[in-house]
Amino acid sequence: MIRLEELTKIFETRDGRAVAADHVSMEVREGEICILLGPSGCGKTTTLKMINRLIPPTSGKVFINGQDTTDYDTITLRRGVGYVIQQIGLFPNMTVAENIGVVPRMLGWDKRRIDRRIAELLEMVSLDPAVFMKRFPKELSGGQQQRVGVARALAADPPVLLMDEPFGAIDPINRGLIQDEFLKMQQKLGKTILFVSHDIDEAVKMGDKIALFSEGKLQQFDSPDNVLAHPANDFVADFVGRDRTLKRLPLTCVADVLETGMPQPDAGTVRVHVTGSDDLRTAVSLMFAHELDQLPCMDGQGRYLGCVTLAGITRHLGQTYRNADDRSGPAGGTEG
C-alpha cells in the first residue's frame, strides 16, 4: 500500500517558483498497478521520484504500508523499493547476473541465495539463465535489457515497484509482448506498482487505477473504466479523447456480456467465433470485419456457450452513463 499525502514539489528556478507537484494525495492499494498518466511536464515523474526521494519533496508525506517513509534513511528506503527507468540503466561493466545481484549484495545476502534468486528471476522474465547470466548488457536486445531491468528491480523482492515509462523505449511489437508478460507476472507477484506513462492505451491496459495529472495537479484518480466513462473535468475528457468509449472495449471480456439464451448461429454463415476470455475490442473488430451484429462464443473444446451481440455490448457500455444520468437527475448527465 502506498499513500501520498499532500505531496508537493516546488522547484526554485531563475524565473521564479515552478510548482511541479501540487498537493498530490492518493492511495494505491496493495497489489494494484496505478498508472501516473499525463502529458510531459505534468508532474507525474516528479511525483514518482518523490516516493524514493530521488527528488526530495518540498512538503507532504509518503507512506508505504502505513509507515511514513521519512522514518527510513534514503538509502534503506531505496533498497526496499524497486525502481525501473525508461533508459533501463543496466551497468555495462557488469554481467546480467551481477546487475540483478546489485541490491541483494548490498543487503548482504549470501552468495548461494543470490545465485538462486538470479536464476529464478531470469526465468520469471522469460530469459534462460544458462544463456543470459554471463552476458553483458551490450549483448542483449532492447527488450531483453528491459526484462533484465525489471528482474533487477524485483531482486530483493520489494513490496513496492516504481516504474518510470519502463517500456517507452521498446518497439511496439515487443512492448505489447513485454506488457502482457509483465501483467502475467504481476498476477503471481501482487506488487504494489506505480507506473508512469504518457500513453492512454498503455494506462488502460496496465492499470488497476489511473492517476491523471496536469500542471502538477492530480486531475482524476479512478479505475480506467471510470476515467474513460466519467472524465472529472474538461482536461481529462480532452486527454482521453472523444473516442474514449471505444477505449473501454478492451476492459471487458466477452464472458461478461454473453447472452447464453441465444440459439447458435448457423455455422455455415458465421465462420468466426470468440472465446469467453477475448475482450470486447476483439469481438467488435471481428463483427465489423465480417459485417455481423452477433458472434458465437465457444469454449476451448469448441462447445457453444452463447452469443455476444452488438446490442448487448452497447447496453453494457451505456449502462454506466445511464446510471450517472439517474444519479444526477434529468437535467444533468454526461456530455457525449
Binding site: 530521488l54 531505496r78 533498497r79 525502481y83 540503466g89 551497468f91 555495462p92 561493466n93
Partner: protein
C-alpha cells in the same frame, strides 16, 4: 658517423641500461605519486563545476611553464630543505606536469558517465561511494588510463631535461653530449629517450586494455592510441 655512434652504444650498454633504469624509476615514482593525487582530485572536482574549472585552469597554467624554468624556480624554494637540485625537484616537476592530463581525463570520464546509470544506481540505493566504486570508476578506467599514458610519454621527455639539475637518467647523455660537443652521446640519449617513450606507450596501452571492464570492450575507444 653512424658507425661511431653505434660503437659508442655497444661499448656503453651497461651505462645505457643503468641510466634507463634510473630514468624509469624517476618517471615511475613521479607518475605513481601523480596518480595518487590526480585521480582523487579529478573525482573530487566532479562535485563542483566552478572548482573544477579553476583546478583545470591551474593545471593548464602549470603545463605552460617551460620545464627548464620550473627546475630553476624550484632551486631556491627547495634549497631551504637542502633539496635544491637532484632527485626531489625532478620528481616534483614531473608530478606537476602529470596533473593536468590525469585530473582532466578523470574528471571528463566521471562526468561523462551516462546520467541514466547514475540515476539507476541512486534509485537502487547505492551510496555515493558505492556508485563511484562499482559504476563510475570502472566505466572511467579506460579514459583515466589514457590520461596516465599521455602523462608518462610527455614526462619521459621532460625528465631528460632534469639531468641539468643533477637528477640523472638518460638526459645525462644529452647534457654531456652538448657540453662536450659529442654527437655520439647526444644521439644515444635522444634515441634511448624516444625508444623508452614508445615502449612505455605500448606497455600502458596493453595494460589499459587489460583493465578495461569486459562489458565495454566491444565499444573500445582508443584515446591517444599511436
Amino acid at each position: 658517423m653512424v658507425l661511431e655512434i653505434w660503437l659508442y652504444m655497444v661499448h656503453n650498454v651497461d651505462l645505457i641500461v643503468s641510466r634507463t633504469i634510473e630514468h624509469i624509476s624517476l618517471v615511475g615514482v613521479a607518475i605513481g605519486l601523480a596518480i595518487l593525487t590526480g585521480v582523487p582530485i579529478g573525482i573530487a572536482i566532479t562535485q563542483n563545476k566552478r572548482v573544477a574549472s579553476v583546478v583545470l585552469y591551474i593545471g593548464a597554467i602549470i603545463m605552460t611553464i617551460p620545464s627548464i624554468a620550473l627546475f630553476g624556480l624550484m632551486i631556491p624554494v627547495l634549497s631551504k630543505f637542502g633539496q635544491g637540485i637532484g632527485y626531489v625537484p625532478a620528481v616534483i616537476a614531473v608530478l606537476l606536469y602529470s596533473q593536468l592530463p590525469i585530473i582532466r581525463n578523470t574528471y571528463t570520464a566521471i562526468t561523462n558517465v551516462d546520467p541514466a546509470l547514475r540515476e539507476a544506481a541512486r534509485g537502487m540505493g547505492m551510496t555515493p561511494l558505492q556508485r563511484l566504486r562499482k559504476v563510475e570508476i570502472p566505466l572511467a578506467i579506460p579514459v583515466i588510463m589514457a590520461g596516465i599514458r599521455s602523462a608518462v610519454v610527455l614526462n619521459i621527455g621532460i625528465m631528460a631535461i632534469a639531468a641539468y639539475i643533477g637528477a640523472g637518467g638518460l638526459g645525462v647523455f644529452i647534457s654531456q653530449g652538448i657540453s662536450q660537443t659529442d654527437p655520439r652521446q647526444l644521439v644515444t640519449g635522444a634515441v634511448a629517450v624516444s625508444v623508452l617513450a614508445i615502449v612505455a606507450d605500448y606497455a600502458l596501452l596493453w595494460l589499459q586494455r587489460r583493465l578495461e571492464p569486459a562489458g565495454l570492450k566491444s565499444a573500445r575507444v582508443l584515446e591517444g592510441a599511436p
